[in-house]
Symmetry: C2
Subunit: 336 residues, 2 copies
DNA sequence: TTGTATGCGTTATCAC
DNA sequence: GTGATAACGCATACAA
């Protein structure tokens, strides 16, 4: 059933039905009622493809997520949930594409098939081929996370450098003199993942400011790796009394290793970092941390994208969030 | 740029380009080369909406997930990842819709906007209005989980009753005489969530067979709730020495409560259940459990859907998986 | 082997 | 206020 059928039954022209539906031109009350009656009787809804073809827009957004197979972290999950939710609020649909590199078929379909009006790209690298691809395609897009040149594009991010710096200052205030940053995986660091680099920078900056000895270790995004990582820290860096991390997936493992080592938090050891809000609450003891407002970030990204789609000539905008470090119970004075 | 432009530059008719692209009719080698050269030079890709309109199919699948806001469990996350991954392998795109009840706009768009060729529905209720809606719409769909009448529809599920039954038998074998099932939330149970009902049935059946005292408690899908739930069990049901659960989200809380109560697993208390595979490994100690092969289930669901789309008249098919209970370290002989 | 013509279901521009 | 009708970009039946 199509718009012509509705028009026929209502005894009007197709265009009149279209206008009754869109409201883009006045329709006599009586006609409108007749049309609406037929529509609701038959349960008619316009064909999305036809509408997209005629209108030149799909009312659909693309969301590029890390390749399937990789388990999403809490923050990443928040991004996805936030984008989907915010899009639904705008009556927009979301097409998800699990894409790693540049020559991904799914990603390429999204970019070049004109099936979306815009794209949200998450977990980008400092120099990301997908960003370049989107730029040359002319498709409006917003990234969660930002590339090297912050002024030239649309993005939302959390200021990892500032947050880690604050965490280290906090530890220094508590008397800790040697700390370690548990970063994301070595592969991610090597491929130029922004948060990894910026966290390290923040750590070193704060360490310099406070005369704290600082170390960085990489750790895959898994509980088991967190466990192994901490055991390694204990043997290789025995002087460390404070840990700061952006690797939330490793947290359960770190927790278990702490316990295994009979270290009581925060009495014997302090731990803090940048993690998804709910994870901080679930840690035991509750984690003093900068809570990444993932859902909120996704919402902002979506608002920016909608804005950019509406005005393709608009100047790039971005948002750099600096959520507070929330004091909970995982950090304490260094025990001498 | 469109197919006409390619045709013009290659000096052929539009249909020839179309056929060269689809291969549905032979094209002379030389013409094909000329066309392909132009296509790759201009980076042409057919417009998805136009193609969908002409072809009558969208090469897109719908995936209905629990409402945004609800944090996805490990198993649910596996479903999403599995569907997206399997769809990508078929060169199909996935449109996600976060939908709870029947009158959801996003869900309604999917069902009635002809923007997808089929739908995967997850986390369904025993009597789910969305299933009814999809049935009356005529859109091919497959559910992960199954409704009351198992023969009439396409689905894939895990046999919760059998698995919980096995878990209870296992506990009985170890000498446990009083066990508790930690179910999903009371709301979910009340709304008629299949796994919740079937788990209870399996528990009671096994308890009857083995003369074990059995209890059921509901618990929201959160670590904190798991903690509270276990505290409650200890006070209200002090004789319980074994716990079986399908609530993986509560697991970290249960674990913490166990520890808080100074109960060593499995020496003092046994715990088992049905959970996502990776969670079982991450539990401490590793959880003896039936591992839900979520990604695999999603893959099967997608294969079924592809099959159903290809042949709308095909007889309903389904798959009821009974993964083994993997022995790890969280269950042991009852201590007298 | 290739070209022509029509239809897919809308929206939007004319004309009345 | 409303009705024709031309796009939108592609696939395909029909001709040649």
């Amino acid at each position: 059933m199509n718009i012509g059928e509705i028009a026929r039954r209502a005894g009007v022209a197709r265009s009149t039905v279209s206008y009754a539906l869109s409201g883009k031109r006045p329709v006599a009350e009586a006609t409108a009622k007749r049309i609406n009656d037929v529509i609701s009787e038959l349960g008619y809804r316009p064909n999305a493809s036809a509408r997209a073809l005629a209108e030149g827009r799909t009312r659909t957004l693309g969301l590029v997520i890390p390749p399937a197979g990789a388990r999403l972290t809490g923050v990443q999950l928040g991004f996805v949930a936030g984008v989907v939710e915010a899009a639904a609020a705008h009556d927009l649909d979301v097409l998800v594409s699990p894409s790693g590199g540049r020559h991904d078929r799914s990603f390429e379909r999204i970019v070049t098939g004109r099936r979306v009006d815009g794209v949200v790209l998450m977990e980008i690298l400092l120099d990301d081929p997908r960003v370049a691809r989107l730029e040359e395609s002319g498709l409006p897009f917003v990234t969660i996370g930002h590339v090297q040149d912050p002024g030239a594009s649309w993005w939302v991010d959390v200021d990892y450098a500032a947050l880690i710096r604050r965490c280290v200052h906090h530890l220094a205030d508590l008397g800790h003199e040697e700390v370690v940053l548990v970063n994301r995986s070595a592969e991610l660091v090597a491929s130029g993942y922004g948060p990894a680099a910026r966290s390290t920078a923040g750590l070193l900056e704060a360490a310099g400011e406070r005369g704290v000895r600082a170390h960085v270790v990489t750790c895959p995004d898994e509980p088991g790796a967190g466990f192994a990582c901490f055991e390694d820290i204990r043997t290789r860096l025995p002087g460390v009394t404070g840990l700061v991390t952006i690797n939330e997936a490793a947290l359960p493992g770190l927790q278990r290793a702490l316990q295994r080592a009979s270290l009581e938090v925060p009495r014997d050891f302090s731990i803090t970092g940048v993690v998804a809000d709910h994870l901080a609450e679930d840690f035991h003891p509750p984690l003093t941390a900068a809570d990444v407002p993932a859902v909120e970030m996704a919402r902002i990204a979506l608002e920016l994208l909608v804005e950019r789609i509406a005005d393709p000539a608009a100047q790039p905008r971005h948002a750099l969030l600096v959520p507070p470090v929330t004091l909970r119970s995982s950090t304490g004075a260094r025990r001498r």
